[in-house]
C-alpha cells in the first residue's frame, strides 16, 4: 500500500475485504419486503389530481415546445398540422409592466374560442368521463391530430442540417 492503512482504520495483520470486481447489481435482492403503499380515498384522490395536473399543464401555453423544424418542401398536409405560435411569439399575456424590458416578446392574440382546456371536475375524479372525452373532441380538430403525413417515418436523424439553427 502506498499509504498507512492504519490511518483508514484497518488494524495490523487484518485481512483486507475482497476486491469489488463489478458494479453492484441493478436490482439487489431485498432482505425485507417493503411496506405496502398507503390506500384510501385521500390517496386515490391525490393520485388522480397528480395525473390530471400533469396532463393539463402539457396543454397550457406555459409548456414551451421547441420550434418546429423548417419544412424543406411545402406539403399538402401542412394545411392540417397544428403548429406552434407563429414567429416565436408568446402564447399568453404576461404583465409586461412587472417584467424586465429585455424579456419583451410579441404576444399572439388567442384565437376566438380557443380557450385553455381544463378538464371540469365532477364528484368522482378517478374515472374518466365519456362526456369529458367528447368535450375534448369538440375542442380539438380531429383532422389535425389524426392526419399523419409520414414525416416522422424513418426515425429522427441527427443529420438534419436543414433545421433552423440559432
Amino acid at each position: 500500500m502506498t499509504f498507512n492503512v492504519e490511518a483508514v482504520g484497518i488494524g495490523k495483520g487484518e485481512s483486507l475485504p475482497p476486491s469489488t470486481l463489478q458494479p453492484s447489481p441493478l436490482f439487489p435482492p431485498m432482505e425485507y419486503r417493503p411496506v405496502p403503499l398507503q390506500t384510501g380515498e385521500e390517496v386515490e384522490y391525490m393520485l388522480a389530481l397528480k395525473q390530471e395536473l400533469r396532463g393539463a399543464m402539457k396543454n397550457l401555453p406555459y409548456f414551451v415546445k421547441p420550434a418546429a423544424p423548417k419544412k424543406d418542401i411545402e406539403r399538402y398536409s401542412d394545411k392540417y398540422q397544428t403548429s406552434g405560435p407563429i414567429d416565436n411569439a408568446i402564447d399568453w399575456n404576461p404583465d409586461w409592466r412587472q417584467l424586465p424590458q429585455e424579456l419583451k416578446i410579441r404576444v399572439r392574440k388567442l384565437r376566438k374560442g380557443r380557450t385553455t382546456i381544463l378538464i371540469p371536475k365532477g364528484k368522482q375524479r378517478v374515472s374518466v368521463d365519456k362526456e369529458e372525452t367528447i368535450k375534448k373532441l369538440e375542442e380539438t380538430d380531429y383532422i389535425m391530430s389524426y392526419f399523419d403525413n409520414g414525416e416522422d417515418f424513418g426515425a429522427d436523424s441527427d443529420d438534419n442540417l436543414d433545421e433552423a439553427t440559432y
Binding site: 397528480k50 395536473l53 414551451v64 421547441p66 412587472q98 417584467l99 424590458q101
Partner: protein
C-alpha cells in the same frame, strides 16, 4: 444543493413546462444568478426561447430577477421552490378539505397559472364550477369571491409584490426592470371588487340563436378589452402557509397516536389559535393561557375546565415535550414546542425507515444510540432545547436520508417516463380508439359497431395497457408518498438551520 435535488428539479420542470424551460431552469439552479446573454450563450438556446422560458419561470414564482449595481438584470431559480411542484396535489387537496370544491379550484387555478388577478380567478372558477352543475344552475361570482376572501384571511393565498405607485416625475431613463414591492400589511388585503355575475357554460350547442349571440358577445369582449378593476394586483398561493398546515397536521396526528383523541383536539386548538401569529420558522407558538384555550375549544367539546387543565399538565409532562408550560398566569401559560415536535417526528420517521429496511434488531440499536446520546449530554441549549451534538448527528442522518428520498423520487419519475415511452404507440392507439368510440356513441352508433371498434385493441394489448396503467399509478402514488417523508425531514433540517443561525 445536492445532485439529487438538481436532478429532481430538472425532471419536474421538464414534465410540467417542457424541455426548453427545463434547460434554462436547471442551468440557473446550477449556476446561481445569471444575466440574459450568459444564459443564451451557455445553454446554446435561441434568445427568443430563453426569453419565453424566463417569462414562464417568473410567472410561476419559480424564478426571480434582480437589478445589479452595474445596471444589468440577473435571473435566478430557487431549487427548493421547484421541488414544491411535487406537492401541488397535496396543496389542492388540502384546500378542498378546508374550503370545499370552490377552495380547491381557486388553489388549482393559481397553481396552474402562477399569478392571477382575483377577478380572473373568480370568473374562471365560477365557469368551471358551473360546468359541473345541473343544467340551468350556475355558480354565483359572490360565492366564489367569499371563498377567495377566506383563503386570503387565513393566509393561504397572498398578494404578489407589485409595481409601487409612481407619484414622482418620471425619469428620463426608465429602469431596465421594475422593482416589485409589497407592504406587509397589504399582503392579505383583498381589493374592494364589485364582481357581479355568474359562471358560464362552455357548450351551448342546442340553441342556434344562443350560439350566434354568444359568438357576437365573445367578439365584443375581445375588442372592448377594458382593464379589470383590480388591474396590476396579482395573487399567488402561499406555500409556506400550507407547509405550516401540514406540520400542524403531523403534530396533531402524532399526539392522537401517542395519547388520545382529546389530547390531540387540545393541541389542534392551540395550533389553530396560533395560526396567523406564528412565523413559519418559529421554535414555539406564542404562550396561550389555559383560560383562552378553554374558550377556544371546538363547540362539540364538553370537557370541564379542570379536565382541560389535567390534560395540559399531562401533555407538558410528556417526555416528548410537544407542549411546554411557560408560566402560571391565566390558569397556566402553555406553548407548542414546534421545533421539538419536528425533531420527534423526524426521529420517528428515521427509526421507522431503519426498521423497514434493516429489520428490528438494527432499529433497536439505532434507537439505543439516539437515547444514549441524549443521556450523555446533560446540558440544555436555550434556543432549541436539543443538545448541539445530538442535533448535529440527527441532522447528518436526516440529510443523508433526505438525499436518498430525493434520489428515490427522481428514479421513480424516470422509470415512469421510461415505461410511458416504451408503450407510446400502444397508448396513442388506445387514445385514438377511445376518441372514435366516444364520437360514435355521441352520434348514436349501434352496439355492434362499437364492439367492432373496441376489438381494434387485441386482448394481449389490453393486458399490456392494464399492466402499464397499474405500474404508472403505483409509481405516481409512490412519488406522493415519498414526498411526505421529504417534507418531514426537510422541515426538521430547515428548523435547525434557522436555530443555528440565531445562536450567537
Amino acid at each position: 444543493m445536492t445532485q439529487a435535488e438538481i436532478k429532481l428539479c430538472s425532471l419536474l420542470l421538464q414534465e410540467h413546462f417542457g424541455e426548453i424551460v427545463e434547460k434554462i431552469g436547471t442551468y440557473l439552479v446550477r449556476t446561481g444568478g445569471q444575466p440574459l446573454r450568459a444564459i443564451v450563450s451557455d445553454t446554446g438556446t435561441s434568445l427568443d426561447q430563453v426569453k419565453k422560458a424566463l417569462c414562464v419561470l417568473i410567472q410561476h414564482n419559480l424564478g426571480t430577477y434582480q437589478i445589479q449595481k452595474r445596471g444589468f438584470v440577473e435571473y435566478s431559480v430557487q431549487c427548493s421552490r421547484v421541488l414544491c411542484i411535487l406537492r401541488y396535489p397535496r396543496y389542492i387537496y388540502t384546500a378542498k378539505t378546508l374550503y370545499g370544491d370552490t377552495g380547491e379550484l381557486i388553489v388549482e387555478e393559481l397553481l396552474l397559472n402562477g399569478k392571477m388577478p382575483m377577478s380572473a380567478v373568480v370568473t374562471k372558477v365560477a365557469d368551471r364550477l358551473t360546468e359541473t352543475m345541473e343544467d340551468g344552475k350556475t355558480m354565483d361570482y359572490t360565492e366564489v369571491s367569499n371563498t377567495f376572501v377566506r383563503l386570503a384571511d387565513t393566509h393561504f393565498v397572498q398578494r404578489c409584490p407589485g409595481v409601487p405607485d409612481a407619484s414622482g416625475p418620471s425619469d428620463s431613463a426608465a429602469p431596465p426592470a421594475p422593482t416589485l414591492v409589497i407592504d406587509e400589511k397589504d399582503m392579505y388585503s383583498v381589493p374592494r371588487l364589485n364582481l357581479i355575475g355568474k359562471g358560464k357554460r362552455r357548450r351551448s350547442c342546442d340553441d342556434d340563436d344562443n350560439g350566434e349571440h354568444k359568438a357576437k358577445k365573445q367578439k365584443q369582449d375581445l375588442e372592448s378589452q377594458e382593464p379589470p378593476p383590480d388591474d396590476g394586483i396579482y395573487w399567488q398561493v402561499n406555500l409556506d402557509r400550507f407547509h405550516q398546515h401540514f406540520r400542524d397536521q403531523a403534530i396533531v396526528s402524532a399526539v392522537a397516536n401517542r395519547m388520545d383523541q382529546t389530547s390531540s383536539e387540545i393541541v389542534r386548538t392551540m395550533l389553530r389559535m396560533s395560526e396567523v401569529t406564528t412565523s413559519s420558522n418559529a421554535a414555539y407558538t406564542q404562550p396561550l393561557s389555559s383560560n383562552e384555550i378553554f374558550r377556544s375549544l371546538p363547540a362539540g367539546y364538553n370537557i370541564g375546565k379542570q379536565v382541560l387543565d389535567q390534560y395540559l399538565t399531562l401533555l407538558a409532562d410528556d417526555p416528548l415535550e410537544f407542549i411546554g408550560k411557560s408560566g402560571d398566569s391565566g390558569g397556566g401559560m402553555y406553548v407548542v414546542n414546534l421545533h421539538k415536535a419536528l425533531a420527534s417526528l423526524a426521529t420517528a420517521t428515521l427509526e421507522s425507515i431503519v426498521q423497514e429496511r434493516f429489520g428490528s434488531r438494527c432499529a433497536r440499536i439505532f434507537r439505543l444510540l439516539l437515547r444514549k446520546k441524549h443521556l450523555e449530554q446533560k446540558q440544555v441549549e436555550d434556543f432549541a432545547m436539543i443538545p448541539a451534538k445530538e442535533a448535529k448527528d440527527m441532522l447528518y442522518k436526516m440529510l443523508s436520508e433526505n438525499f436518498v428520498s430525493l434520489q428515490s423520487v427522481a428514479n421513480l419519475i424516470e422509470r415512469r417516463q421510461y415505461e410511458t415511452r416504451e408503450n407510446k404507440r400502444l397508448l396513442e392507439k388506445s387514445q385514438r380508439v377511445e376518441a372514435i368510440l366516444a364520437s360514435m356513441q355521441a352520434t348514436g352508433a349501434e352496439e355492434v359497431q362499437l364492439q367492432e371498434i373496441e376489438e381494434m385493441i387485441t386482448a394481449p394489448e389490453r393486458q399490456q395497457l392494464e399492466s402499464l396503467k397499474h405500474t404508472v399509478n403505483k409509481i405516481d402514488a409512490s412519488e406522493n408518498q415519498v414526498d411526505e417523508t421529504i417534507f418531514l425531514l426537510a422541515s426538521y433540517v430547515d428548523s435547525t438551520v434557522v436555530a443555528a443561525v440565531k445562536k450567537p
